[in-house]
Protein backbone atom coordinates (compact mmCIF):
# COMPACT_ATOMS: atom_id res chain seq x y z
CA UNK A 1 0.00 0.00 0.00
CA UNK A 2 1.16 3.42 -0.78
CA UNK A 3 2.46 5.06 2.43
CA UNK A 4 0.81 8.29 1.63
CA UNK A 5 -2.55 6.65 1.19
CA UNK A 6 -2.23 4.72 4.47
CA UNK A 7 -1.22 7.85 6.30
CA UNK A 8 -4.20 9.70 4.90
CA UNK A 9 -6.51 6.90 5.95
CA UNK A 10 -5.13 6.90 9.47
CA UNK A 11 -5.30 10.67 9.65
CA UNK A 12 -8.88 10.62 8.48
CA UNK A 13 -9.76 8.10 11.21
CA UNK A 14 -8.08 10.27 13.85
CA UNK A 15 -9.93 13.31 12.65
CA UNK A 16 -13.18 11.39 12.77
CA UNK A 17 -12.73 10.44 16.42
CA UNK A 18 -11.78 13.97 17.42
CA UNK A 19 -14.84 15.69 15.91
CA UNK A 20 -17.65 16.83 18.24
CA UNK A 21 -21.20 16.08 17.20
CA UNK A 22 -23.04 19.20 16.06
CA UNK A 23 -26.61 19.51 17.23
CA UNK A 24 -29.17 22.28 17.03
CA UNK A 25 -30.44 23.10 20.50
CA UNK A 26 -34.17 23.70 20.77
CA UNK A 27 -35.14 27.26 21.69
CA UNK A 28 -36.40 26.84 25.24
CA UNK A 29 -36.68 30.54 26.06
CA UNK A 30 -39.54 31.19 23.70
CA UNK A 31 -41.69 34.21 24.39
CA UNK A 32 -45.45 34.13 24.29
CA UNK A 33 -47.40 37.39 24.30
CA UNK A 34 -50.88 38.33 25.32
CA UNK A 35 -52.24 41.63 24.11
CA UNK A 36 -54.98 42.99 26.36
CA UNK A 37 -57.11 45.79 24.96
CA UNK A 38 -59.06 47.91 27.42
CA UNK A 39 -62.24 49.84 26.83
CA UNK A 40 -63.83 52.39 29.10
CA UNK A 41 -67.14 51.66 30.77
CA UNK A 42 -68.84 55.04 30.77
CA UNK A 43 -72.22 54.88 32.43
CA UNK A 44 -75.12 56.44 30.55
CA UNK A 45 -77.51 58.25 32.80
CA UNK A 46 -81.10 58.51 31.61
CA UNK A 47 -83.83 59.55 33.99
CA UNK A 48 -87.40 60.51 33.25
CA UNK A 49 -88.40 63.56 35.28
CA UNK A 50 -91.84 65.20 35.20
CA UNK A 51 -91.66 68.80 34.10
CA UNK A 52 -94.50 70.14 36.26
CA UNK A 53 -96.48 69.35 39.39
CA UNK A 54 -99.28 70.75 41.42
CA UNK A 55 -99.47 71.81 45.07
CA UNK A 56 -102.57 73.03 46.89
CA UNK A 57 -102.84 75.14 49.98
CA UNK A 58 -105.71 73.86 52.14
CA UNK A 59 -105.32 75.78 55.42
CA UNK A 60 -108.90 75.14 56.46
CA UNK A 61 -108.43 71.38 56.18
CA UNK A 62 -111.27 70.92 53.75
CA UNK A 63 -111.74 67.46 52.25
CA UNK A 64 -110.16 67.46 48.82
CA UNK A 65 -109.99 64.72 46.21
CA UNK A 66 -106.66 64.33 44.45
CA UNK A 67 -106.18 61.54 41.93
CA UNK A 68 -109.22 59.80 43.32
CA UNK A 69 -107.93 59.95 46.87
CA UNK A 70 -109.53 62.18 49.52
CA UNK A 71 -107.47 64.16 51.95
CA UNK A 72 -107.82 67.04 54.34
CA UNK A 73 -104.13 67.86 54.61
CA UNK A 74 -103.28 71.51 54.64
CA UNK A 75 -100.54 71.13 52.05
CA UNK A 76 -101.55 68.83 49.24
CA UNK A 77 -99.48 67.92 46.23
CA UNK A 78 -100.21 65.37 43.58
CA UNK A 79 -97.31 62.97 44.01
CA UNK A 80 -94.93 62.74 41.09
CA UNK A 81 -92.42 60.15 40.05
CA UNK A 82 -89.01 60.01 38.43
CA UNK A 83 -87.80 56.84 36.75
CA UNK A 84 -84.22 55.64 36.34
CA UNK A 85 -83.76 54.29 32.83
CA UNK A 86 -79.99 54.01 33.18
CA UNK A 87 -78.04 50.78 33.06
CA UNK A 88 -76.43 51.67 36.33
CA UNK A 89 -77.84 52.55 39.75
CA UNK A 90 -77.77 56.26 40.54
CA UNK A 91 -77.85 58.43 43.61
CA UNK A 92 -80.14 61.43 43.71
CA UNK A 93 -79.31 64.86 45.12
CA UNK A 94 -82.15 67.39 45.42
CA UNK A 95 -82.27 71.17 45.76
CA UNK A 96 -85.61 72.86 46.34
CA UNK A 97 -86.18 76.57 45.96
CA UNK A 98 -89.48 78.21 46.87
CA UNK A 99 -91.13 81.45 45.87
CA UNK A 100 -94.30 83.05 47.12
CA UNK A 101 -96.73 84.12 44.43
CA UNK A 102 -96.65 87.77 43.55
CA UNK A 103 -99.37 89.63 45.41
CA UNK A 104 -99.48 87.17 48.27
CA UNK A 105 -98.56 88.22 51.80
CA UNK A 106 -97.94 84.68 53.02
CA UNK A 107 -94.56 83.54 54.24
CA UNK A 108 -92.77 80.22 54.38
CA UNK A 109 -91.47 79.21 57.80
CA UNK A 110 -88.83 76.72 58.89
CA UNK A 111 -90.85 74.75 61.40
CA UNK A 112 -94.34 73.37 61.85
CA UNK A 113 -97.10 75.91 62.49
CA UNK A 114 -99.25 73.44 64.39
CA UNK A 115 -97.73 74.08 67.78
CA UNK A 116 -97.42 77.78 67.16
CA UNK A 117 -99.84 80.40 68.34
CA UNK A 118 -98.79 82.72 65.57
CA UNK A 119 -101.50 84.40 63.53
CA UNK A 120 -99.18 85.26 60.67
CA UNK A 121 -100.27 83.96 57.32
CA UNK A 122 -97.55 81.33 57.05
CA UNK A 123 -97.00 77.79 55.89
CA UNK A 124 -94.44 75.15 56.68
CA UNK A 125 -93.74 73.14 53.54
CA UNK A 126 -91.21 70.38 52.98
CA UNK A 127 -90.15 68.12 50.12
CA UNK A 128 -90.32 64.36 50.63
CA UNK A 129 -89.03 61.58 48.35
CA UNK A 130 -89.47 57.84 48.67
CA UNK A 131 -88.26 54.85 46.70
CA UNK A 132 -90.97 53.14 44.68
CA UNK A 133 -91.31 49.89 42.80
CA UNK A 134 -93.79 51.19 40.25
CA UNK A 135 -94.65 54.47 38.60
CA UNK A 136 -97.80 54.78 40.72
CA UNK A 137 -96.80 57.21 43.47
CA UNK A 138 -99.90 56.26 45.42
CA UNK A 139 -98.28 52.90 46.11
CA UNK A 140 -95.74 54.68 48.28
CA UNK A 141 -95.94 54.83 52.04
CA UNK A 142 -95.29 58.43 52.96
CA UNK A 143 -93.83 59.53 56.26
CA UNK A 144 -96.41 60.67 58.78
CA UNK A 145 -94.51 63.77 59.80
CA UNK A 146 -91.49 65.90 58.97
CA UNK A 147 -88.11 64.21 59.39
CA UNK A 148 -85.10 66.51 59.12
CA UNK A 149 -82.84 63.63 58.19
CA UNK A 150 -84.87 62.79 55.11
CA UNK A 151 -86.94 65.81 54.08
CA UNK A 152 -86.04 69.24 52.69
CA UNK A 153 -87.69 72.42 53.96
CA UNK A 154 -88.93 74.76 51.24
CA UNK A 155 -87.86 78.35 51.77
CA UNK A 156 -87.37 81.42 49.62
CA UNK A 157 -83.60 81.69 49.97
CA UNK A 158 -81.79 82.26 46.71
CA UNK A 159 -79.76 79.07 47.02
CA UNK A 160 -82.63 76.99 48.29
CA UNK A 161 -82.18 73.93 50.48
CA UNK A 162 -80.41 70.76 49.42
CA UNK A 163 -79.87 67.22 50.46
CA UNK A 164 -77.34 64.84 48.92
CA UNK A 165 -77.94 61.18 48.28
CA UNK A 166 -81.57 61.47 49.28
CA UNK A 167 -82.28 58.29 47.37
CA UNK A 168 -80.63 55.54 45.34
CA UNK A 169 -82.44 54.30 42.26
CA UNK A 170 -81.90 50.81 40.91
CA UNK A 171 -80.58 50.23 37.41
CA UNK A 172 -82.86 48.93 34.69
CA UNK A 173 -83.48 45.21 34.37
CA UNK A 174 -81.55 43.09 31.85
CA UNK A 175 -84.65 43.39 29.69
CA UNK A 176 -84.33 47.18 29.73
CA UNK A 177 -87.33 47.96 31.94
CA UNK A 178 -87.30 50.22 34.96
CA UNK A 179 -86.64 47.95 37.90
CA UNK A 180 -88.28 47.75 41.29
CA UNK A 181 -86.61 50.46 43.29
CA UNK A 182 -85.89 52.36 40.10
CA UNK A 183 -88.67 54.87 40.72
CA UNK A 184 -88.52 57.86 43.03
CA UNK A 185 -91.88 59.26 44.12
CA UNK A 186 -91.92 62.74 45.60
CA UNK A 187 -94.40 65.19 47.05
CA UNK A 188 -94.68 68.37 49.04
CA UNK A 189 -96.25 68.21 52.49
CA UNK A 190 -96.55 70.37 55.56
CA UNK A 191 -99.00 72.56 57.39
CA UNK A 192 -100.23 76.15 57.63
CA UNK A 193 -101.76 78.58 60.08
CA UNK A 194 -105.43 77.77 59.79
CA UNK A 195 -106.87 81.20 60.67
CA UNK A 196 -104.30 83.93 60.29
CA UNK A 197 -105.00 87.53 61.03
CA UNK A 198 -105.02 88.19 57.29
CA UNK A 199 -107.31 85.57 55.86
CA UNK A 200 -106.21 83.29 53.09
CA UNK A 201 -107.15 84.48 49.61
CA UNK A 202 -106.88 83.16 46.09
CA UNK A 203 -103.79 85.25 45.61
CA UNK A 204 -101.93 83.16 48.13
CA UNK A 205 -99.77 80.44 46.68
CA UNK A 206 -96.25 79.27 46.02
CA UNK A 207 -94.10 77.81 43.31
CA UNK A 208 -91.35 75.36 44.10
CA UNK A 209 -88.50 74.46 41.84
CA UNK A 210 -87.09 70.99 42.41
CA UNK A 211 -83.69 70.37 40.87
CA UNK A 212 -82.40 66.80 40.68
CA UNK A 213 -78.77 65.80 40.27
CA UNK A 214 -78.00 62.23 39.33
CA UNK A 215 -74.68 60.53 39.93
CA UNK A 216 -73.69 56.95 39.12
CA UNK A 217 -73.57 54.92 42.29
CA UNK A 218 -69.94 54.27 43.14
CA UNK A 219 -68.92 50.81 44.28
CA UNK A 220 -65.57 52.15 45.36
Amino acid sequence: MNRKRLFCAVLALVLLFSAQPATAAAELWDTYSTTITASCKVPTIKVTVPSTGQVYLNPLKLTVFINGESTSDQIISAPCCIANESDIPITVDVTVTGAVNEGSDMTLVASSTQDSESTDKSAFIYFEMQSADTDDPNDVTWDSEYDSSKHIIVDTSAAGQSKENILTLSAITPEGAVAAGGYGAFRLAGDAVETPANVWTSQDGISVEVAFTFTPLSYI
Binding site: L28, Y32, T34, T35, L217, Y219, I220
Partner: protein, 315 residues
Protein backbone atom coordinates in the same frame (compact mmCIF):
# COMPACT_ATOMS: atom_id res chain seq x y z
CA UNK B 1 7.09 -5.31 -9.20
CA UNK B 2 8.93 -4.98 -6.03
CA UNK B 3 7.27 -6.65 -3.00
CA UNK B 4 7.28 -4.55 0.24
CA UNK B 5 9.50 -5.94 2.91
CA UNK B 6 7.29 -7.88 5.35
CA UNK B 7 8.93 -6.28 8.38
CA UNK B 8 8.28 -2.82 7.06
CA UNK B 9 4.70 -3.69 6.22
CA UNK B 10 4.17 -5.11 9.70
CA UNK B 11 5.57 -1.95 11.27
CA UNK B 12 3.37 0.21 9.17
CA UNK B 13 0.28 -1.86 10.02
CA UNK B 14 1.12 -1.79 13.72
CA UNK B 15 1.58 1.96 13.61
CA UNK B 16 -1.77 2.33 11.88
CA UNK B 17 -3.49 0.10 14.43
CA UNK B 18 -2.01 2.08 17.27
CA UNK B 19 -3.14 5.33 15.66
CA UNK B 20 -6.66 4.00 15.27
CA UNK B 21 -6.88 2.80 18.85
CA UNK B 22 -5.80 6.11 20.27
CA UNK B 23 -8.58 8.54 21.14
CA UNK B 24 -8.49 12.31 21.07
CA UNK B 25 -5.92 13.77 21.58
CA UNK B 26 -4.77 11.42 18.86
CA UNK B 27 -1.08 11.36 19.63
CA UNK B 28 -1.23 11.12 23.45
CA UNK B 29 1.16 8.65 24.82
CA UNK B 30 -1.29 7.31 27.50
CA UNK B 31 -4.66 5.62 27.05
CA UNK B 32 -7.64 7.98 27.04
CA UNK B 33 -11.41 7.65 26.89
CA UNK B 34 -13.77 9.33 24.47
CA UNK B 35 -16.86 10.63 26.19
CA UNK B 36 -19.70 11.37 23.84
CA UNK B 37 -22.64 13.57 24.71
CA UNK B 38 -25.72 14.73 22.96
CA UNK B 39 -28.33 17.38 23.72
CA UNK B 40 -31.95 16.29 24.09
CA UNK B 41 -34.15 19.24 23.28
CA UNK B 42 -37.01 19.95 25.72
CA UNK B 43 -40.32 20.15 23.99
CA UNK B 44 -41.86 23.34 25.32
CA UNK B 45 -45.61 23.28 25.15
CA UNK B 46 -47.63 25.99 26.82
CA UNK B 47 -51.04 27.41 26.16
CA UNK B 48 -51.13 31.19 26.42
CA UNK B 49 -54.02 33.36 25.18
CA UNK B 50 -52.90 35.73 22.47
CA UNK B 51 -55.52 38.35 23.24
CA UNK B 52 -57.67 39.53 26.12
CA UNK B 53 -60.00 42.39 26.99
CA UNK B 54 -60.05 44.70 29.98
CA UNK B 55 -62.41 47.34 31.28
CA UNK B 56 -61.68 50.78 32.68
CA UNK B 57 -64.46 51.07 35.25
CA UNK B 58 -64.01 54.27 37.27
CA UNK B 59 -67.10 53.69 39.43
CA UNK B 60 -66.34 50.05 40.06
CA UNK B 61 -69.71 49.07 38.63
CA UNK B 62 -70.62 45.37 38.67
CA UNK B 63 -69.23 43.41 35.75
CA UNK B 64 -70.95 40.16 34.87
CA UNK B 65 -68.76 37.25 33.96
CA UNK B 66 -71.28 34.52 33.30
CA UNK B 67 -73.10 33.98 36.57
CA UNK B 68 -70.28 35.53 38.55
CA UNK B 69 -70.12 39.24 39.34
CA UNK B 70 -67.04 41.36 39.85
CA UNK B 71 -67.84 44.53 41.76
CA UNK B 72 -65.68 47.34 43.03
CA UNK B 73 -62.89 46.80 40.50
CA UNK B 74 -61.88 49.93 38.63
CA UNK B 75 -59.63 47.95 36.30
CA UNK B 76 -60.50 44.37 35.43
CA UNK B 77 -60.14 41.86 32.65
CA UNK B 78 -63.55 40.95 31.37
CA UNK B 79 -62.89 37.22 31.03
CA UNK B 80 -60.57 34.73 32.76
CA UNK B 81 -57.08 34.48 31.26
CA UNK B 82 -55.34 31.15 31.72
CA UNK B 83 -51.86 29.71 31.11
CA UNK B 84 -51.45 25.94 30.89
CA UNK B 85 -48.17 24.04 31.04
CA UNK B 86 -48.28 21.00 28.78
CA UNK B 87 -44.54 20.44 28.88
CA UNK B 88 -42.82 17.47 30.46
CA UNK B 89 -40.89 19.78 32.79
CA UNK B 90 -41.94 22.32 35.36
CA UNK B 91 -41.66 25.85 34.04
CA UNK B 92 -40.72 29.05 35.78
CA UNK B 93 -42.74 31.94 34.41
CA UNK B 94 -41.60 35.50 34.00
CA UNK B 95 -43.46 38.40 32.40
CA UNK B 96 -42.42 41.62 30.76
CA UNK B 97 -45.06 44.35 30.82
CA UNK B 98 -45.61 47.31 28.53
CA UNK B 99 -48.52 49.34 27.19
CA UNK B 100 -49.74 52.11 24.94
CA UNK B 101 -52.60 54.50 25.63
CA UNK B 102 -55.06 56.68 23.78
CA UNK B 103 -54.47 60.42 23.85
CA UNK B 104 -55.04 61.97 27.24
CA UNK B 105 -54.82 58.76 29.23
CA UNK B 106 -51.84 58.26 31.56
CA UNK B 107 -50.65 54.99 33.02
CA UNK B 108 -48.88 55.54 36.31
CA UNK B 109 -46.79 53.27 38.51
CA UNK B 110 -47.68 52.79 42.16
CA UNK B 111 -44.88 55.17 43.09
CA UNK B 112 -46.85 58.07 41.60
CA UNK B 113 -48.92 58.11 44.81
CA UNK B 114 -51.91 59.65 43.06
CA UNK B 115 -55.14 59.90 45.02
CA UNK B 116 -57.49 58.32 42.50
CA UNK B 117 -60.56 59.36 44.49
CA UNK B 118 -59.87 63.05 43.88
CA UNK B 119 -57.73 63.22 40.74
CA UNK B 120 -59.52 64.77 37.77
CA UNK B 121 -57.04 63.86 35.01
CA UNK B 122 -57.46 60.59 33.16
CA UNK B 123 -54.96 58.66 35.22
CA UNK B 124 -54.77 54.92 35.70
CA UNK B 125 -52.68 52.61 37.82
CA UNK B 126 -52.82 49.26 36.05
CA UNK B 127 -51.32 46.16 37.64
CA UNK B 128 -50.61 42.78 36.06
CA UNK B 129 -51.21 39.87 38.44
CA UNK B 130 -50.72 36.14 37.97
CA UNK B 131 -51.98 33.50 40.37
CA UNK B 132 -51.39 29.83 40.99
CA UNK B 133 -54.47 27.63 40.91
CA UNK B 134 -55.74 24.12 41.51
CA UNK B 135 -57.05 23.95 37.95
CA UNK B 136 -56.09 21.24 35.51
CA UNK B 137 -56.58 20.72 31.79
CA UNK B 138 -60.27 19.94 32.27
CA UNK B 139 -61.27 22.67 34.71
CA UNK B 140 -59.12 25.31 32.99
CA UNK B 141 -61.67 25.44 30.20
CA UNK B 142 -64.77 24.86 32.33
CA UNK B 143 -66.39 28.29 32.68
CA UNK B 144 -68.64 27.12 35.51
CA UNK B 145 -65.49 26.46 37.54
CA UNK B 146 -63.30 29.15 36.06
CA UNK B 147 -65.50 32.23 36.29
CA UNK B 148 -66.32 32.17 40.03
CA UNK B 149 -62.67 31.43 40.74
CA UNK B 150 -61.61 34.36 38.59
CA UNK B 151 -64.13 36.70 40.21
CA UNK B 152 -62.80 35.82 43.65
CA UNK B 153 -59.12 36.50 42.93
CA UNK B 154 -57.39 38.64 45.56
CA UNK B 155 -54.39 40.80 44.76
CA UNK B 156 -52.73 39.68 48.00
CA UNK B 157 -52.46 36.18 46.55
CA UNK B 158 -50.70 37.16 43.33
CA UNK B 159 -47.56 35.11 42.65
CA UNK B 160 -46.36 37.52 39.98
CA UNK B 161 -47.26 41.20 39.77
CA UNK B 162 -46.06 44.42 38.25
CA UNK B 163 -47.16 47.86 37.14
CA UNK B 164 -48.20 48.21 33.51
CA UNK B 165 -47.01 51.52 32.07
CA UNK B 166 -45.69 52.79 28.77
CA UNK B 167 -42.20 51.91 30.02
CA UNK B 168 -41.40 48.21 29.74
CA UNK B 169 -40.77 46.52 33.06
CA UNK B 170 -40.66 43.01 34.45
CA UNK B 171 -43.17 41.56 36.83
CA UNK B 172 -41.76 40.50 40.20
CA UNK B 173 -42.42 37.39 42.23
CA UNK B 174 -42.15 33.69 41.61
CA UNK B 175 -44.45 31.49 39.59
CA UNK B 176 -43.62 27.91 38.67
CA UNK B 177 -46.02 25.72 36.74
CA UNK B 178 -45.96 22.02 37.46
CA UNK B 179 -44.94 19.67 34.66
CA UNK B 180 -47.73 18.13 32.59
CA UNK B 181 -49.04 14.62 32.95
CA UNK B 182 -48.97 12.80 29.64
CA UNK B 183 -49.08 16.07 27.74
CA UNK B 184 -52.00 17.59 29.66
CA UNK B 185 -51.79 20.25 32.35
CA UNK B 186 -52.29 18.78 35.78
CA UNK B 187 -53.11 20.47 39.07
CA UNK B 188 -50.39 23.00 39.77
CA UNK B 189 -49.70 23.48 36.08
CA UNK B 190 -52.34 26.13 35.39
CA UNK B 191 -52.12 29.81 36.28
CA UNK B 192 -54.65 32.61 36.04
CA UNK B 193 -53.72 36.17 35.21
CA UNK B 194 -55.55 39.47 35.02
CA UNK B 195 -55.20 43.24 35.09
CA UNK B 196 -56.25 45.14 38.18
CA UNK B 197 -55.77 48.67 39.47
CA UNK B 198 -57.26 52.10 40.01
CA UNK B 199 -58.78 54.86 37.91
CA UNK B 200 -59.33 58.53 38.61
CA UNK B 201 -63.00 58.48 39.48
CA UNK B 202 -63.61 62.18 39.00
CA UNK B 203 -62.07 62.43 35.55
CA UNK B 204 -64.37 62.94 32.58
CA UNK B 205 -63.92 59.54 31.01
CA UNK B 206 -65.12 58.83 27.49
CA UNK B 207 -65.90 55.64 25.66
CA UNK B 208 -62.90 56.29 23.41
CA UNK B 209 -60.43 56.22 26.29
CA UNK B 210 -58.38 53.06 26.12
CA UNK B 211 -55.03 51.38 26.63
CA UNK B 212 -53.39 48.28 25.20
CA UNK B 213 -51.17 46.17 27.42
CA UNK B 214 -48.68 43.61 26.11
CA UNK B 215 -47.73 40.83 28.47
CA UNK B 216 -44.69 38.94 27.16
CA UNK B 217 -44.29 35.65 29.01
CA UNK B 218 -41.00 33.75 29.09
CA UNK B 219 -40.75 30.15 30.24
CA UNK B 220 -37.72 28.23 31.43
CA UNK B 221 -37.26 25.02 33.40
CA UNK B 222 -37.98 25.50 37.06
CA UNK B 223 -38.43 23.57 40.25
CA UNK B 224 -42.02 23.03 41.27
CA UNK B 225 -42.18 23.30 45.02
CA UNK B 226 -45.46 24.69 46.21
CA UNK B 227 -46.07 25.89 49.75
CA UNK B 228 -46.55 23.28 52.43
CA UNK B 229 -48.45 25.65 54.72
CA UNK B 230 -47.76 28.37 57.24
CA UNK B 231 -45.50 28.73 60.21
CA UNK B 232 -47.31 30.44 63.08
CA UNK B 233 -44.49 30.96 65.54
CA UNK B 234 -45.12 33.25 68.47
CA UNK B 235 -41.83 34.92 67.67
CA UNK B 236 -39.06 34.71 65.09
CA UNK B 237 -36.64 36.61 67.32
CA UNK B 238 -35.00 34.61 70.07
CA UNK B 239 -32.29 35.64 72.48
CA UNK B 240 -29.53 33.78 74.28
CA UNK B 241 -29.97 36.09 77.22
CA UNK B 242 -33.75 36.09 77.15
CA UNK B 243 -36.40 34.00 75.43
CA UNK B 244 -34.44 31.20 73.86
CA UNK B 245 -37.25 28.99 72.65
CA UNK B 246 -40.70 29.05 71.07
CA UNK B 247 -43.13 26.24 70.29
CA UNK B 248 -43.09 25.06 66.71
CA UNK B 249 -46.52 25.79 65.28
CA UNK B 250 -47.08 24.86 61.68
CA UNK B 251 -50.36 24.56 59.81
CA UNK B 252 -50.15 22.38 56.71
CA UNK B 253 -52.09 23.59 53.69
CA UNK B 254 -52.16 20.95 51.00
CA UNK B 255 -54.49 20.73 48.03
CA UNK B 256 -57.71 18.83 48.52
CA UNK B 257 -57.14 15.09 48.60
CA UNK B 258 -53.40 15.33 49.18
CA UNK B 259 -51.90 14.08 52.41
CA UNK B 260 -48.43 14.12 53.88
CA UNK B 261 -46.48 14.60 57.07
CA UNK B 262 -44.22 17.62 57.51
CA UNK B 263 -40.56 17.13 58.26
CA UNK B 264 -38.82 20.06 59.91
CA UNK B 265 -35.19 21.02 59.49
CA UNK B 266 -32.96 23.90 60.51
CA UNK B 267 -30.46 25.35 58.07
CA UNK B 268 -27.96 25.86 60.91
CA UNK B 269 -28.32 23.67 63.95
CA UNK B 270 -25.54 25.57 65.65
CA UNK B 271 -28.00 28.50 65.81
CA UNK B 272 -31.39 26.81 66.31
CA UNK B 273 -32.58 23.24 66.58
CA UNK B 274 -36.01 21.68 66.76
CA UNK B 275 -36.21 19.76 69.98
CA UNK B 276 -38.81 18.03 72.06
CA UNK B 277 -39.56 19.98 75.21
CA UNK B 278 -42.00 18.14 77.44
CA UNK B 279 -43.65 16.58 74.45
CA UNK B 280 -43.91 19.80 72.47
CA UNK B 281 -41.85 20.37 69.35
CA UNK B 282 -39.93 23.52 70.12
CA UNK B 283 -37.52 25.79 68.30
CA UNK B 284 -34.59 26.33 70.63
CA UNK B 285 -31.72 28.76 70.26
CA UNK B 286 -28.14 27.64 70.76
CA UNK B 287 -26.11 30.59 69.58
CA UNK B 288 -26.53 34.03 68.07
CA UNK B 289 -27.16 34.13 64.36
CA UNK B 290 -29.83 33.56 61.74
CA UNK B 291 -31.24 30.29 60.51
CA UNK B 292 -34.05 29.14 58.27
CA UNK B 293 -36.59 26.59 59.36
CA UNK B 294 -37.99 24.47 56.56
CA UNK B 295 -41.11 22.34 56.58
CA UNK B 296 -41.07 19.73 53.83
CA UNK B 297 -44.02 17.53 52.95
CA UNK B 298 -43.82 14.81 50.34
CA UNK B 299 -47.41 14.78 49.27
CA UNK B 300 -49.37 11.67 48.36
CA UNK B 301 -49.53 13.18 44.86
CA UNK B 302 -45.77 12.91 44.52
CA UNK B 303 -45.20 16.65 44.84
CA UNK B 304 -42.73 18.07 47.34
CA UNK B 305 -44.24 20.96 49.28
CA UNK B 306 -42.02 23.34 51.27
CA UNK B 307 -42.39 26.36 53.52
CA UNK B 308 -39.71 28.36 55.26
CA UNK B 309 -39.36 30.93 57.97
CA UNK B 310 -36.27 32.79 59.11
CA UNK B 311 -35.38 32.96 62.77
CA UNK B 312 -32.92 35.35 64.34
CA UNK B 313 -31.12 34.71 67.61
CA UNK B 314 -29.63 37.64 69.47
CA UNK B 315 -26.75 37.19 71.85
Amino acid sequence: MKIMNLKRFGSVALAGAMAMSMAVPAFAANQSVVVSGSYTPIDLRVVVPTTGTAIINPYGLPIQIGDATISGQQITTSAPLVIQNRSAVALSVSASLSATTSTGVTLEPASASTDYTTATDKKLHVVFEAFTSELDANTATDNDTLRPLFAALNSDDAALSGDVTTTAADATGSLVLREANDGEAQRGGVALFRLSGEAAKKATWEATDTFEATIAFTFEPGEYSPSAGAFELATTSLSMSGTDRTPLVFTPALPDGVTGTPVFTSSDEAVVKIVDVSGVETVRAYSAGTATLTATITGSDGVTYTSTVDITVAS
